[in-house]
């Protein structure tokens, strides 16, 4: 019996008895087997062997600690089982918590006694819907948000005949897959999660709670490696409650996503809150390492190590830094130079072992700074001195030699504009460089951006560059200018600018490539010879002595001995001032000294130093920021505000500056009243004024300094060639742009030019002394006014200008899109909307307008997508819903039409109309751009290109006899030309081909009519006339309804022309109503009669009278309509015809009861 049981259990687990033994178990590494042995032992069927069981358990635990067999139930511990201190701790903890909670409870009582329901309006609407679960899936119904695809418009019975079940099913399927895709995507990433939380209406307690919760979410997301999401949640937490921990965590998340700058700025904030935060230091060190700023990284990490010498991570990092440095040395990479950060940063950015770069600075740079300087009063004449000449030095022969090319690349500009002078200068500097290289004993191979300029070839160009440069500088508002003393100083330091030459293409150095890459879009777009370049500064190694002193200063600064640090910096500065090519360093040192002054409270000193620093390198963020702070402390809020603004325009991420702006705005508003803005003359500069600083590692700061520069459309970068008075954003280029924009409006657009010319000119004068912001606002306002007055072209011009002044404004894009829509330029409208949407993903307006544009382009499907997106964002948008219905109808028609045409094709009907239809609908099928036929006077040729440059068109039209007439009309009409569609061709069978003269007449008539429309103040461009595939009632009525929005009769006329008068009865069937009747009669009187088609007009009227319900409708005709008909019939009567006689007219009179 016993053996049986034993066999049973060992059999069950398939374990031979002799495996139940210490040595076997200890040697066994098969988890499964061990588990089985353990089970056998635990079952105690083989006997009770507590030691063996324990041994087996231990073994199992070492091999597989996660084995389920090891899971043991423990009993619920009571506090008495805990160790004393642990228990006390726990009790204490709970006690303090419960008292905390008592306080918390009261904290949530809203102070004003409201129940907190007042935010109801911000909540989404009450939803409503049902999902019915059936065996074959779920059906849902949403009473409020029903799919408007169906049962929106009551359909004609005949329409049911057309419904293709297959297609409908397909559509449903399509929708299904689409929704799948959507959810799939939405599931992957946090969609539309804002970075900020509106803390309005929250009590402090709630805020804290929520901030903590968001931080927790961030932590969790971080743990699951979802760094982006983590950053979002940390940002949300910070927006509610900025804590060091959140910043620190976000910094880590930034590190993970390799956003070094984000990490640096976050850790800086942490360190400003908790200077001793080792984690933050470590993280900043890592970030600096990522930025290849090894010295700063090292400083941070050494600081960590000095406090916590056995910090493993820090040690590792240090090693990595060393390795990175070596590599850098090998490769001779250059480094981004950043200035010392305000509070806590160190200044080790230039190390001794870094390689030498040639420093080039320019006078122009100095000049620029003067404009930024707001301090001193003495004015420096800004005119001729700053028309720099680029020197073409004879380095051509040295081109193949790297070193020499470096030196030779000093295509420096000299202030004097004196050739020989500048030559000397350059030669001198060349010597200097060489000397330095010798003394430092460092090879300068490949360190410098080379100006392999094909000198001779581009000479002229360059000169012009210079000119524009200088002009540009002049254009900057020279409100406050540095003292002459300073200017002379800057001359001494003789910074020399190196101009990037867009023509140098073949230089193989990375930086050059980079910069030429950057330049390429510009040089492509600007065929003009004005190519603007950013000034480039090269960082150079400091002389040893200066560097060591600077090192000391940094240490002192970090230790908080600002006064001492300041003295050291003085030393450095004096040392550097003696050197020639130390502009960057000198600027840095000034900036650093300013930081010291800021700390010691020597505010005027700060301002002075910052001015100097900026003088050397204009538009650098840190000195600006420091100066702003100093100004603010000095209670000179206006300059402070200007500086803050300047900083923001350079780097939008500077939180400090944002805060500063806010503060200053408040105070300025208090002091100066609402008009305070006018008193602040913001510094204006173009992105290309911002110097490119090439650091020792060869990276330029450009990317980080000007995040927006990429978006700047090419046009705005072109300075007006020689206009000394206007800001760079004004006309000539714009006009060319707008005129090309308007080209599609055909020849009539010429007339538009006149307002275009007058308005901006007057504007120009006004604008001169304005800041870009104001200028922008003004332009925008003007544009908006034009829109209100339906002058869309003018509005477009204004918006273009706005865009030049301050690019990247969503509102401008959406507004301009609206204008384009009105002008019937769907493609452009779409472009603008795209632009707007890239800036702001969920801009409702942009979405709506793009949908409209796409509708016009017949890309119904895309249009629907947009509308859906829109409705997702704003479900209540009724306009969008309506639009969606319309578009859906169109789409449906299109699909059906397509199918029909396919059938037609199959049948190979020789019917011409079918052919035309199919051709047009195949267009549609491919979602091509709409073809537009422009009517050129007296021409039977159709220029179908939309964007034919104007000049061409003119030349084309100038060959025509009718040209003078056209010109007259052009000058008269203010109205965009009516655009017609190819569909008109399909009218052929209804309208016999006319003679040349008749056509001429017709088009002239048409122009007259457009004129008339304008004069009656109807601003709209003609709505597209839907094509009629067949003269069926459904097609006709839907086409008719689609025209409802149109204010003019022309589209109706075009539509009517597509059907034979005899068909009127059929197509209108029982749908006749008063409006239709009046529109048709007006059409006849205004178009048919004027075009001389009296016969057709008569036939239409006659056939109209046979339409069902005509009697009733005509009886209800309004008085004015009756009058119209009366006069119409009079006219008909007066015109002789073979078709009708006076009797017929009489009959008609009777029918129309007039």
């Amino acid at each position: 019996m016993g053996t049986n049981i034993m066999q049973g259990s060992t059999k069950k687990y398939d374990i031979p008895l002799d495996h139940l033994e210490f040595s076997y178990i200890n040697g066994c590494s098969d988890v499964k087997e061990l588990e089985r042995i353990f089970k056998v032992l635990k079952s105690k069927e083989e006997g009770y062997y507590p030691d063996l069981e324990k041994c087996c358990e231990d073994r199992l635990e070492t091999i597989n600690p996660n084995s389920r067999l090891l899971r043991k139930e423990s009993h619920l511990m009571s506090k008495t089982e805990l160790e004393r201190n642990e228990k006390d701790e726990l009790d204490q903890d709970l006690k303090s918590w419960s008292s905390d909670m008592k306080y918390m409870e009261t904290a949530f009582q809203p102070s004003d006694g409201l129940t907190g329901n007042d935010d109801d309006d911000e909540l989404p609407p009450i939803r409503s819907g049902t999902i019915t679960l059936t065996s074959d899936g779920a059906k849902s119904s949403k009473p409020t948000k029903t799919n408007p695809n169906k049962r929106v418009t009551p359909r004609d019975y005949r329409e049911w005949d057309k419904i293709d079940v297959d297609k409908e099913l397909e559509k449903v399927d399509e929708d299904d897959t689409k929704s799948k895709e959507r959810t799939f995507v939405a599931n992957k990433e946090v969609v539309n999660l804002p970075d900020q939380i509106d803390s309005k209406g929250l009590t402090d307690g709630e805020k804290l709670l929520k901030a903590n919760r968001e931080k927790d979410k961030g932590n969790e997301a971080f743990r699951s490696n979802d760094f982006k999401e983590a950053i979002t949640y940390y940002s949300r937490s910070i927006s509610l409650q900025p804590t060091a921990a959140s910043y620190n965590n976000r910094a880590l998340a930034y590190l993970k996503t390799k956003d070094w700058h984000g990490a640096v700025s976050d850790t800086n904030i942490v360190l400003s809150m908790e200077p001793q935060n080792l984690k933050a230091l470590l993280r900043r060190g890592t970030a600096y390492k990522g930025l290849n700023q090894f010295d700063r990284a090292q400083a941070d990490i050494e600081l960590v190590l000095s406090k916590e010498s056995n910090n493993k991570k820090a040690q590792e990092l240090l090693e990595e830094i060393e390795a990175g440095r070596k590599e850098k040395k090998k490769k001779g990479r250059r480094m981004v130079i950043e200035d010392v950060d305000g509070e806590t940063e160190d200044t080790n950015n230039v190390s001794e072992d870094s390689t030498v770069n040639v420093n080039k600075d320019i006078e122009v740079g100095g000049e620029e700074k003067k404009e930024n300087g707001t301090e001193t009063s003495a004015k420096v004449p800004v005119q001729n001195t700053s028309t720099p000449r680029r020197m073409q030095i004879e380095e051509v022969e040295e081109d193949d030699d790297d070193n020499d090319a470096d030196n030779g690349s000093d295509n420096g500009d000299d202030n004097g504009g004196n050739d020989s002078d500048s030559k000397n200068d350059v030669v001198e500097s060349n010597d200097n460089v060489q000397k330095e290289q010798k003394t430092n004993g460092v090879a300068s191979n490949g360190l410098v951006e080379k100006e392999q300029s094909e000198v001779n070839a581009v000479k002229d160009n360059n000169v012009e560059n210079e000119k524009t440069d200088g002009i540009k500088l002049d254009l900057n508002p020279v409100s406050d200018v540095e003292s002459t003393e300073k200017s002379s100083k800057s001359t001494e330091s003789s910074p020399r600018e190196v101009e990037n030459d867009s023509q140098k293409s073949d230089s193989d150095i990375a930086v050059t490539d980079e910069s030429s890459d950057k330049d390429s879009p510009r040089s492509d777009s600007s065929e003009s010879s004005f190519v603007k370049m950013r000034p480039v500064f090269y960082m150079k190694e400091m002389p040893k002595k200066a560097a060591s002193v600077k090192e000391e200063a940094t240490v002192l600064f970090k230790n908080g001995q600002y006064g001492e640090a300041c003295k050291k910096y003085d030393e450095v500065v004096t040392l550097l001032e003696k050197e020639r090519d130390q502009t960057v360093n000198l600027s840095l040192m000034y900036s650093n000294r300013a930081a010291c002054h800021l700390k010691t409270g020597d505010l005027p000193g700060v301002v002075k130093d910052c001015n100097r620093s900026l003088e050397l390198i204009p538009h650098s963020v840190k000195p600006l920021l420091r100066r702003a702070t100093a100004y603010e402390h000095l209670e000179r809020f206006r300059p402070a505000y200007i500086d803050y603004r300047h900083v923001i325009s350079l780097d939008t991420r500077m939180e400090q500056a944002h805060l500063g702006i806010k503060r200053c705005q408040q105070i300025l508003n208090q002091n100066d009243g609402p008009g305070w803005r006018e008193k602040c003359k913001l510094t204006k500069f173009s992105p290309y004024d911002i110097p490119d600083i090439i650091g020792l590692d060869g990276k330029s700061t450009s990317q980080q300094v000007m995040p927006t520069s990429q978006q700047v459309p090419p046009i705005s970068q072109q300075a007006p060639p020689a206009s000394q008075q206007g800001p760079p954003s004004i006309p000539p280029i714009n006009q060319s742009a707008t005129s090309s924009v308007n080209n599609s409006q055909s020849d009539a657009s010429k007339s538009v030019k006149s307002p275009e010319n007058t308005v901006p000119v007057s504007n120009e004068k006004k604008v001169i002394k304005k800041t870009p912001q104001e200028e922008f606002e003004e332009m925008k306002l003007e544009g908006n006014n034009f829109v209100k007055n339906s002058k869309f072209k003018e509005a477009v011009t204004c918006y273009n200008k706005c865009n030049d002044i301050l690019p990247g404004q969503v509102a401008i894009y959406t507004n301009r899109a609206l204008c384009y829509l009105r002008l019937n330029e769907a493609t452009k409208a779409e472009c603008d909307c795209n632009e707007a949407l890239t800036i702001e993903k969920d801009n409702v307006k942009a979405l709506f307008r793009r949908a409209q544009a796409r509708k016009m382009l017949k890309r119904y499907r895309d249009s629907l997508e947009d509308l859906k997106h829109l409705l997702q964002i704003d479900g209540k948008n009724t306009a969008a819903q309506k639009e969606m219905d319309i578009v859906k109808n169109y789409w449906r028609e299109e699909l059906e039409g397509m199918k029909k045409n396919l059938n037609n094709l199959k049948e190979k009907k020789e019917d011409t109309s079918a052919q035309i239809n199919s051709s047009s609908s195949s267009n549609v099928g491919k979602q091509r751009k709409r073809m537009v036929i422009q009517e050129v006077d007296g021409s039977d040729e159709e220029s179908s290109k939309k964007d034919v440059p104007k000049s061409k068109q003119q030349t084309a039209s100038s060959t025509k006899d009718a040209k003078p007439k056209v010109e007259v009309l052009k000058s008269e009409t203010n109205k965009p030309k009516q655009v017609k569609k190819t569909a008109e061709v399909s009218v052929k069978d209804a309208q016999p081909v006319k003679s040349q003269s008749k056509q001429n007449k017709e088009s002239r008539q048409q122009k007259k009519s457009t004129l008339k429309e304008t004069s009656t103040g109807l601003p709209r461009a003609a709505t597209n006339v839907p094509k009629l595939d067949k003269a069926t009632p459904y097609e006709f009525i839907s086409a008719w309804n689609a025209l409802k929005k149109s204010d003019t009769l022309l589209p109706y006329y075009n539509l009517l022309k597509q059907i034979k008068p005899s068909e009127i009865k059929t197509v209108i069937s029982n749908k006749l109503d008063g409006d239709m009747l009046s529109v048709i009669t007006r059409c006849v009187s205004e178009h048919y009669l004027q075009n001389g088609e009296t016969d057709t007009g008569y036939e239409i009227l006659k056939n109209l009278s046979t339409v069902p319900r005509f009697g009733t409708i005509s009886m209800m005709m309004g008085r004015s309509d009756k009058k119209g008909v009366q006069s119409l019939l009079d006219k008909l009567e007066s015109k002789p015809s073979q078709i009708y006689s006076a009797d017929d007219i009489k009959k008609l009179r009777k029918e129309y009861s007039v």
Binding site: L76, T115, G116, L193
Partner: protein, 354 residues
């Protein structure tokens, strides 16, 4: 002993069957819901103070309470929404317990489960309550709308009505996105997308689903845990939904009996407890895989499940654990009720080390 321990702080014997206990947010109090022997409903509020439990308030209502939630109430009001044996959903103001501030006879039979979202600063968007009932329907209520549910998920005419045992809100990370997940007695789990009013995903886990919870309601849905009869629970990674295969999941056995409940630690979504029919409470930690997403053969992204490890396994009672609730304010503090009419306040230590 550096792993988390579950330590009893204080316990109390009650004279009624306890079904649910919930911490009142931002307080040291919790509310207990249950059923007196005479069939009436019990609602009691206790406060933890000085190592003891003080009864602060109580009320007896005509129908037994099955479940409650604060999820749809704001922090200032802290109204409790309850579901009772009669199919009635009510919202109570503790300051005036005489009559509910909102009451609707939403279901024909007992409301088994309730969940709320949009309140307490958890979940963006409108406050909503979802109830699941034996009558087979799941209904969503908006306190702003009286008498009628704002959304209903029910079997069609003539279909078998499955007893709905568990409901949970999730995905409420924007004002518009929101999902409801429902578990049924036949092992069905259905995920409804309230934004689109559609059935987003469904599966069957073979055994009746007793408990469901998203790891967090107010984030882009991340994980869903479903506990079942027959001692199994499933963790679904809901980040990546494959068009045909749905969500990736892992299955784990525990408790050797029905797993009644799952509750995620509010301070850390990757830690959760499951409560067993054998009176045990298990503490789990979820570990994410190296990559959460991979591409299948067709290049479509598919999720990869992680793993769970048991952190603690503690016997609390001889009877099933009927409810468990983590304090939202104090990490590790929890209240737990069991069918032996006991109420326990426990502390889980060292949760940070998990």
């Amino acid at each position: 002993m550096d792993k988390p321990q579950i330590i009893l702080h204080v316990q109390k014997s009650l004279n009624y069957t306890v079904f649910d206990a919930k911490w009142i947010p931002c307080s040291a109090k919790f509310v207990v819901l249950g059923n007196y022997a005479r069939g009436t409903g019990a609602l009691q509020i206790y406060e933890v103070s000085h190592g003891d439990l003080n009864l602060v308030k109580e009320a007896e209502k005509s129908k037994a309470f099955k479940c409650g939630t604060f999820g749809a109430s704001n922090l200032q009001q802290r109204y409790l929404a309850t579901g009772d044996f009669d199919g009635k959903m009510s919202i109570w103001n503790f300051e005036a317990l005489e009559a509910p501030v909102y009451s609707v006879k939403g279901h024909k039979e007992i409301i088994n489960c309730i969940d709320g979202v949009g309140g307490l600063g958890i979940g963006e968007g409108a406050p909503e309550i979802v109830t699941g009932s034996r009558d087979g329907s799941v209904k969503v209520w908006d306190p702003r709308q009286k008498n009628d549910p704002v959304a209903t998920m029910e079997p069609g005419e003539g279909e078998t009505k499955r007893d709905c045992w568990a409901v949970a809100f999730g995905n409420a990370y924007t004002p518009h996105e929101r999902c409801v997940c429902a578990g049924y007695d036949n092992g069905d789990i259905k995920l409804f997308d309230l934004k689109n009013m559609s059935l987003r995903w469904e599966t069957n886990v073979k055994n009746g689903v007793c408990g469901l919870e998203f790891d967090r309601k107010d984030i882009n849905m991340n994980k869903l845990v479903a506990t079942t009869l027959e001692s199994k629970f499933h963790v679904f990674d809901t980040r990546t939904q494959h068009p045909t295969k749905g969500f990736a999941s892992l299955t784990e056995k525990a408790h050797k009996s029905t797993i009644w409940q799952v509750k995620h630690l509010p301070q850390n979504r990757d830690v959760f407890v499951t409560c067993g029919g054998n009176g045990t409470v298990n503490l789990w930690k979820y570990h994410y895989p190296m990559n959460r997403v991979e591409k299948d053969n067709d290049g479509i992204e598919i999720g990869i499940p992680g793993t769970v490890s048991m952190v603690q396994n503690t016997v609390l009672s001889t009877q099933p654990i009927s409810s468990f609730d983590w304090s939202p304010d104090k990490e590790g503090l929890c209240v737990c009720t069991s069918f032996d009419q006991m109420l326990r306040v426990c502390v889980v230590t060292k949760l940070k080390t998990v």
